[in-house]
Symmetry: C3
């Protein structure tokens, strides 16, 4: 659809110097010339110059920062306009039942047990087992030697490597939790058209949830192991050989280096990086970037050494006070 | 069944002035004259007067508060007697296989994918998709334009509005966690015969659990959005346009106003109200009613301003002490 | 397989005084003479003497502690060697499709609803209901009067008593989270060949995860009640009539006495015992053994009395400081 037509249908009345067929929405850093992006925070203004985006949704006050090759679309709430545009790119979870006859490829010695549902264009390697109740959506690719335990659900476009085990009830690729908000306080869904990539030798426990990316991908790197009931938000990257213990929660766009360990019930805010080999004690609440090779715990988070002594001293102080 | 017969079968030996066919158990405030209620806390004694309940389970010391139109049933542990009576009203999850031939209504342009199970007396609107592995129990009502993702389970009597999305693995309407305790420390199940109501435009993420009410309903109001792995206890009410981020846990009978935001891993005690537009930071532990338009965080909970400074000051104090 | 052959295939070059057909791996305290064990912590050295194990993986420095009836296998990292050996004993989740014709026994008046999958050698008692989407793996034994709600998954070898209710989406018997680590920082899976035992009158809510033991069993004792989204790690023992509220997490080898109560989002470290009748407030973080008949809360954990006053005093101190 042409940009002008899209804008018209979401009620944005603007005159364009440049109209084009919009191929996708994308973040500034990766957008191409037939793609549309948005900006609503001052700190990203400097990235406008390098962006190849064909058009950008932007506030009036910032419009002078837009380079000449890019069409500005002035709106009061760029994030909201972006969410509304995302509806044009929403895909159904399954093409079923109007699909191109289930183009499924299954490798040698792979067992598909009863009550498994495979979507269109699914490709599964050799020596895999898909156990009862597994649901695989469209365009999913699974490598060799994988075990997909009962009632696992894998949403569309997910890419899974070899020797991956996914335990019962885990959900891979559900929509990320992303909404824009209008002036009435209503939440407008941002369509998540990215995907999840799981590399080789990953094991994922039971009843986890791993959301797909809004753009691009959520990625679990080679050799990482995830316990049960863990939440991994959209656009997270889990580094190689990382361990996430039960009930850990990672907010959107968290990334970890390699061999990170997070203890049970630990959590992070969004857009945070945890350095290689860094360890978070159980229940640790990570609210900022952490350097490599360090140890942390508590809420608020402290270096583990400080945390271990902190409450000991406090309890002594309180006891004295109460005497 | 007659009240006298019910009491006899649970071993309560009492003489009644008034016997009647018991239609249901109910809380004092909504009980009708053919219903039975109970009371075991002083603070509710004043509501006896206005109640229309036909009979009330009550401790001997409180019996003088019972109005003349109501039959008192004196027992040492009213809550336990109530739990035992609730067994008479337990319903099976499915009437299957002795059912009245699956009275199912499905609207135009609704897709029911393979391996979906529909119970008796299920009604589904237009333009819905029920994806593989979905299980819908008896007497469930779903509006138009809903997407029910794979392996979602919806227990009996649930009522779902229009344009509701429920992501994979979420369980709607499971029994609330409610037991009475006998003198041997055993737990006696309180049958949960209430339901869950989900209003229009709600989106619910993956692997959530939303329990049905003991009586009445658990309700998620219009436009609210719930992330993954969230627990909503029995008899909660979530106000309009509220956001619950991943791993939030709400104990029974929590209610929120409209446009409340609760960050990841936040939780509440039971019977608490959070006012309109109030925000709880991630991991915030809500143990009391909160006024509207305020911000809170931490455990124990403090206003966000205090919480932000509190540990900064404490760490300074502890550092000085250790020098 | 002979011990010498196993060791050779994992690259351990050693000469044995005594070779034998290895029947299983086992912990020192229960290992028999045709079984292999390991030791890598000083505190367990004293248990070598009483052990009947046929052979033990051990560090060179500790080898003098090995009694004469036991073959020592000297390796730099006994835990890692043990993990590698465990691969020889890994069992497939289902013998399907090469199985001995599904030897299934189902008692009178038991209803198996559509889309249920039963593995080989499954035995189910009388008056049970298995609801749609339930998956029962091989060698599972279920007593009388059980209700298994939709989409529950029960892994192989699980033993369930009578009058047990398991709500939708719960996973029983998934692999515990146990890995050894090699010199490259990679994680080597320890095969979990133990099982889960659930005694009579237990009720388990929705979307829980209960892991099976590495050896021996994870056990939920008679009359215990578990809410939703609870994690129970491998080798835990939950005492009789214990209550675990929603989102509680128990690390591996936690045990509780009888009538323990853990509030919502509480958690424990591994190898901890909580005494009879002890109560943990919501969000309480248990990091040490707790005596019976006590009450605790907070993180770090304090007796409930101290915890209730602790922050009150601290806030007063901080306020004074800021004035």
């Amino acid at each position: 659809m042409k940009l002008s037509k899209m804008l018209e249908s979401i009620g944005i009345d603007t005159s364009l110097n440049k109209d084009f067929e919009v191929k996708a929405l994308a973040p500034l850093e990766s957008a191409l010339e037939n793609e549309v992006s948005y900006i609503d925070q001052n700190k990203y203004l400097s990235s406008l110059k390098e962006s190849k985006a064909g058009a950008v949704l932007i506030k009036e006050k910032d419009v002078t920062h837009v380079p000449s090759h890019m069409q500005s679309i002035v709106v009061p709430n760029p994030h909201l306009a972006f969410a509304k545009l995302s509806a044009f790119f929403a895909k159904d979870e399954f093409a079923y039942p109007t699909a191109e006859k289930n183009q499924i490829q299954i490798g040698e010695n792979t067992t598909i047990m009863p009550n498994v549902f495979l979507g269109n264009n699914v490709k599964i390697g050799k020596n895999c087992t898909l156990m009862p109740g597994v649901v695989i959506s469209d365009n999913v690719n699974i490598g060799d030697g994988c075990k997909i335990f009962p009632n696992v659900v894998i949403y569309r476009d997910t890419h899974i490597g070899s020797n991956v085990f996914i335990h019962a009830g885990t959900i891979i690729g559900s929509d990320g939790f992303g909404y824009a908000h209008n002036e009435k306080g209503e939440h407008v869904k941002i369509q998540h058209n990215g995907k999840v990539v799981i590399e080789n030798d990953v094991e994922i426990g039971a009843n986890n949830t791993i959301d797909r990316a809004v753009f691009g991908e959520t990625r679990i790197k080679k050799g990482s192991k995830i316990d049960n009931l863990v939440q991994i938000g959209h656009n997270c990257t889990i580094g190689e050989h990382t361990l996430l213990v039960s009930q850990v929660g990672l907010a959107g766009s968290t990334s970890t280096g390699r061999n990170v360990v997070m203890g049970g019930q630990a959590g992070t805010g969004g857009h945070i990086h945890i350095g290689d080999f860094t360890q978070i004690a159980g229940r640790g609440a990570v609210g900022k970037n952490l350097p490599p090779n360090t140890k942390w715990g508590g809420h608020p988070l402290m270096e583990l050494d400080e945390w271990m002594k902190f409450f000991v001293t406090l309890r002594r102080m309180v006891k004295k006070k109460s005497e």
